[in-house]
Amino acid sequence: MNKLLAIAGGALGIYIVIVLLVAVIPAIELSQAPAGPGVTALTPLQDEGRQVYAANGCGYCHTQQVRPLDEDKPFGRPSAPGDFAFQTPELLGSERTGPDLTNVGNSKPSDVWQYIHLYDPRAVEPESIMPNFKFLFDVVPVVPPGETAVPVPEAFAPKNGKVIPTLQAKALVSYLLSLKQSPIPGFSTAVAMGTATAATPPAATPAPAPTGYAYDAAKGQSLFTANCAACHQASGQGIPGAFPSLIGNTAVDDADPTLHIQTVLHGAHGVVVGGVKYNSAMPPFSGQLSDTDIADIVNFERSAWGNHAKPVNAADVAAIRAKGN
């Protein structure tokens, strides 16, 4: 019996000591970590959305932690202890089958985009392998007063009726849009729409001499894919009623590039294009893309899909950037 006591008791005792030292005591201390500057508790609706997120296991494919590595820069600044003050249960995650969502409220600020994407991810991202969450939506013959139909593209919409979000979908989108890192001095919180090419810091590129219509077409397309295609689509046609087409667009396919560059730099909201008003918000890109990057994107858009507007260069972008919003 003594031998049994020595082995079982010894093994148990040693284990308890180790667990206290490397798990429980650090956890007690970390649980008291104060909230970082600007980090606030969720509203009741956002909190409900967080529960929808956890209940449906979103955290198995999406992380919510940004590491201090170059490859993580597209997702924001490195996560800090103070970011997690109000995050219980924690949703840091262990796998990126889909992108990190730490800053999805910054990178995809349009609720319309979030609704369409949840209803059918392939409606906005053809290559996505995320399951659809149609069970978070109702299909109704007539949109009730106070509700807004989700403008699902025709190919993905139900044959009859309109798609409206349930309360759970509204809560979830409210939570997703709340996912924004608060600024910490010395770190850029700017995020791209899901690419690392935006890791380049905002550069004060010295204006090169105007060289006409020369730009890095491959880079322009890659940046477009990563930052713009989620809404405007690879085809440039946008989503009818949700995101404007860039083909023949008066801002894009116009001799004067000012409005085009301004929109990419500072974002847009409630714009009217071709007589249609678009309520979705477009995020600003001035924070995470250099003048050269923006010039590459703008030139790609001005020359793709049959557009043929006057090219721009980094100096044009710098000049408009200097004017401010």
Binding site: I28, G57, P89, L91
Partner: protein, 492 residues
């Protein structure tokens, strides 16, 4: 077979002094054992194995569906079949349904046989089995209804359900300790160190995981890192190693190569393993010292892993011939290699430079299957094929056991290799700064191969269920057991 063999501290040894003993130890069992005790022990072992087999089939069917969804994301995307609800059902039921129940069943059999006694309490064993099953059923239902404790890996079950699991552990620990306390000899065979240690440590894990006071924000992250690795390495690892220490000498009729090495591995595993959990959160905002400690002890784990593996392999050395003729030994051999390779891979993954590429990628999923499948599941199957026929006197057919072995082996090879290669591609895409969606596109062929491997693995489990049927309800026989004498005679 059947020749008296010199055993030193062998599983059936009843004393410190080396003695001549027939390898069919139960035939020489002490007075504490009666035929009724044998039957009671056999029925406990059978019931645990049958329960575990059910959970294996269920959980891996869910896993197969999940693998399919990577290629067909709109397939069965309804609320109760959505990926994010089924994924924790797959992991929790393989962990707490299949592996836990199977290993506890084996631990009971090993404890009673190696101590030359009957179980302390058959009733407690049945109560434990009921509690394990109630927890797994309730957990499955809760997760599917969307009730979880957050996406906290392997502890998603709501806390009341995890208390049921804790109750099952307490009952098991009590019963195992009391059984070993009834041994007639002074020595405690090494297998029982591992199984009793594993159950006691897991009680602590279950308690630490459920107490709420220190689990806010980042504090909970520290507990998640601790939990997700300790629940594996302080539970499945010691119980599976306990099976190795009993089954290998039993099959080969020779003592373990070095008892002292086994003791060293036991204590070093205890000292090093609990410290490495934070390596799941490298580069996270967890304190840097905690992450570094985790890396250092991930390297230190090479001592018990290589020491333990060497011990098993050296015991098997020179018995390749036996291996060819013994599928139970083949299962155990694969399990030992899975332990060696999977754990060593874990050490390599823990380096910051490697994590920068592999973390968050499917490489990790490949690693977890190499260890939980290549190591733990093969250990379980090897143990069941070696020992269940001794308890029941019935053996599976050679074809059945061969089909199970080769489909599981080839399937898991395809599975692990495709996800390891794919995960590396995925990680390199991120490092190269490609648009994120490129990593999704590049994974597609590897997801398909993972599904192919998964299908073979699942089919092998169906064959396993058939083999379990033959070992429990089938005709008495002794086709594939290396331990049963060539004709007729059975052990229990």
């Amino acid at each position: 077979m059947g020749l008296p063999t010199l055993w030193r501290r062998n599983p059936e040894s009843t004393g410190r002094v080396a003695k001549i003993q027939h390898p069919l130890g139960s035939a020489l069992a002490g007075p504490a054992q009666s035929h009724a005790d044998d039957r009671a022990l056999a029925s406990v072992f059978v019931a645990y194995t049958a329960s575990a087999t059910f959970w294996l089939i269920f959980a891996t069917a869910v896993g197969l569906l999940l693998a399919f969804k990577f290629g067909a994301p709109d397939f069965w995307a309804a609320k109760y079949l959505t990926f994010g609800r089924l994924r924790p059902i797959h992991t929790n039921d393989t962990f707490y349904g299949f592996a836990s129940i199977a290993l506890v069943g084996l631990a009971y059999y090993v404890a009673a046989r190696s101590c030359g006694t009957s179980l302390y309490s058959t009733a407690l064993a049945w109560a434990g089995l009921a509690l394990f099953n109630i927890a797994a059923i309730a957990g499955t239902i809760a997760l599917d209804l969307g009730y979880n404790w957050g996406d906290l890996e392997y502890r998603e079950w709501p806390w009341p359900i995890r208390l049921i699991f804790l109750a099952a552990l307490l009952v098991t620990g009590w019963n195992l300790i009391a059984t070993v306390a009834r041994r007639s000899a002074d020595d405690i065979y090494l297998s029982n160190w591992y199984t009793i240690g594993g159950v006691l440590w897991t009680c602590i894990i279950a308690i630490v995981a459920v107490l709420p006071w220190y689990q806010y924000g980042l504090g909970q992250v520290a507990i998640s890192g601790y939990y997700m690795h300790n629940a594996v390495g302080m539970w499945f690892t010691p119980l599976a190693l306990g099976v190795f220490y009993y089954a290998i000498p039993k099959i080969l009729s020779r003592p373990i190569y070095s008892y002292a090495l086994g003791v060293l591995a036991f204590w070093t595993n205890l000292l090093f393993y609990p410290l490495l959990g934070a390596h799941h959160f490298l580069f996270s905002p967890l304190p840097w010292w905690l992450q570094t400690v985790a890396i250092v002890f991930s390297v230190a784990m090479l001592v018990p892993v290589w020491g333990g593996s060497a011990n098993y392999l050296l015991t098997m050395r020179g018995h390749q011939h036996d291996m060819i003729h013994s599928y139970p030994l083949m299962f155990i051999f694969v399990g030992v290699i899975g332990y060696l390779v999977g754990s060593t891979q874990g050490t390599v993954e823990a380096f910051r430079s490697m994590q920068a590429i592999w973390h968050f990628s499917n490489f990790t999923v490949g690693h977890s299957h190499l260890t939980m499948y290549g190591f733990v599941s093969f250990a379980v199957w090897g143990g069941i094929y070696a020992l269940l026929p001794l308890a029941t006197g019935k053996s599976p057919g050679r074809l059945g056991i061969a089909l199970h072995f080769w489909m599981a082996l080839v399937g898991s090879f395809i599975y692990v290799i495709s996800l390891s290669v794919g995960g590396t591609v995925q990680g390199m895409d991120w490092v190269d700064g490609k648009p994120f969606i490129q990593s999704v596109v590049d994974m597609q062929p590897y997801y398909v191969w993972r599904g192919v491997g998964g299908l073979l693995m699942f089919l092998s489990h169906v064959v396993f269920a058939w083999n379990v049927w033959r070992m429990t309800r089938g005709q008495a026989g002794n086709a594939a057991s290396p331990i049963l004498p060539p004709v007729g005679e059975v052990a229990a």
